[in-house]
């Protein structure tokens, strides 16, 4: 038994012989009626224990926010080429709320540009 770092030795915590006997005879079920009552009681206790264990598990693994999914790229954006995407980004860049972290867009691939436009437009739709 341990609490605050204390744990008695097996010798120090010795049960009385009658208590040892009671622990052993408790393994035996000799009264069918009492055993039936005990089964009902044990099921009830176990149900409460399940609820407490579930709470401990939730405490250990609190629900995390789902990872944000990338914005869906529309068919229209798929059909646009690099120049069209850059032109679209220029239009979006003029919107006051839009800030683009990339200073040099030439370093981005066409797919990157497409994803960037999709993300900005999705954010705009959410905030509208």
């Amino acid at each position: 038994m341990k609490r605050n770092g204390k744990r008695p030795s097996e010798n120090a915590d010795s049960p009385h012989p009658l208590e040892t006997l009671l622990a052993h005879v408790s393994q035996e079920s000799i009264d069918p009626l009492d055993d039936a009552n005990a089964s009902v009681w044990a099921r009830g206790v176990r149900t409460k224990v399940d609820a407490q264990l579930a709470a401990l598990r939730r405490q250990l693994n609190p629900a995390r926010p789902l990872p944000r999914r990338a914005a869906r790229i529309s068919d229209e954006l798929v059909s646009l080429g690099r120049e069209d995407l850059l032109a679209r980004l220029e239009i979006l860049r003029k919107i006051p709320e839009v800030r683009i972290a990339h200073l040099e867009l030439s370093g981005l691939t066409t797919d990157d540009l497409r994803q960037l436009v999709a993300e900005i437009e999705a954010t705009e739709r959410t905030q509208a």
Partner: protein, 216 residues
């Protein structure tokens, strides 16, 4: 049983760190807290309360088990699954709390059994008992000595049961220890244990059955 049923509403009390057991601890508790083991614990608490405490109802025994479980799940009592299995740990807790309750009952007219408050002097006394192994034994040992002796007299015709009792009297605790000290086979151990269980079921405080007619 619900921890939320008894909020800590004492503003003077410093907040206690929340009990956050590991996943392995939770899995071990989940696996070992079976309905079968709960029934064993209920039988143990019930027989202790009846034989030593004179309580013939099941409410007290059930409460002893439930409060012990709750205190472990709340972290009030710390169970280490790597050091000990849940059942013997709970039996120790039930035994020491039953002793404490009987000691208090002998001192006062009424005993209230409730979920333990770690700051309660009674709990501190129990905790000290758990730490030192004293367990208030002085209050109940003479009665248990007498009952153990009387029980031995009741199995005079059953040498294996007598040897079982003698082995326990000489400090054997576990099944292997009893089997070795009493020179019992597995079958002899089981039969003796069953015979003793029937006798114990008839025990009341300070009295053992006068005949074996009640046994089945």
């Amino acid at each position: 049983m619900d921890p939320d049923e008894q909020p800590d509403d004492d503003p003077q009390r410093p907040p206690r760190a929340p009990f956050v057991p590991s996943e392995a601890w939770i899995e071990a508790f989940d696996a070992q807290c079976t309905e079968h083991r709960l029934k064993v614990l209920r039988r143990y608490a019930s027989s202790w309360a009846r034989v030593v405490g004179g309580d013939t109802g099941s409410d007290y025994a059930e409460e002893l088990v439930q409060v012990a479980l709750t205190d472990i799940l709340r972290g009030v009592l710390r169970w280490d699954p790597e050091a000990e299995e849940l059942e013997p740990f709970l039996i120790s807790v039930i035994r020491l709390r039953a002793r404490r309750d009987r000691k208090i009952a002998a001192r006062y007219e009424h005993v209230f059994i409730d979920s333990f408050d770690p700051d309660d002097p009674a709990f501190i006394e129990l905790d000290a008992s758990l730490a030192t192994g004293m367990g208030g034994a002085e209050a109940v040992d003479p009665l248990m000595d007498r009952m153990h002796t009387q029980l031995r007299g009741r199995v005079a015709d059953y040498p294996q049961a007598q040897r079982f009792l003698d082995a326990v009297r000489h400090g054997a605790v576990t099944k292997p220890q009893i089997m070795r000290l009493a020179s019992l086979t597995h079958n002899e151990f089981s039969n003796a244990r069953r015979r003793l269980a029937r006798l114990v079921a008839q025990l009341t405080p300070g009295r053992v059955p006068s005949t074996e007619g009640g046994e089945s």
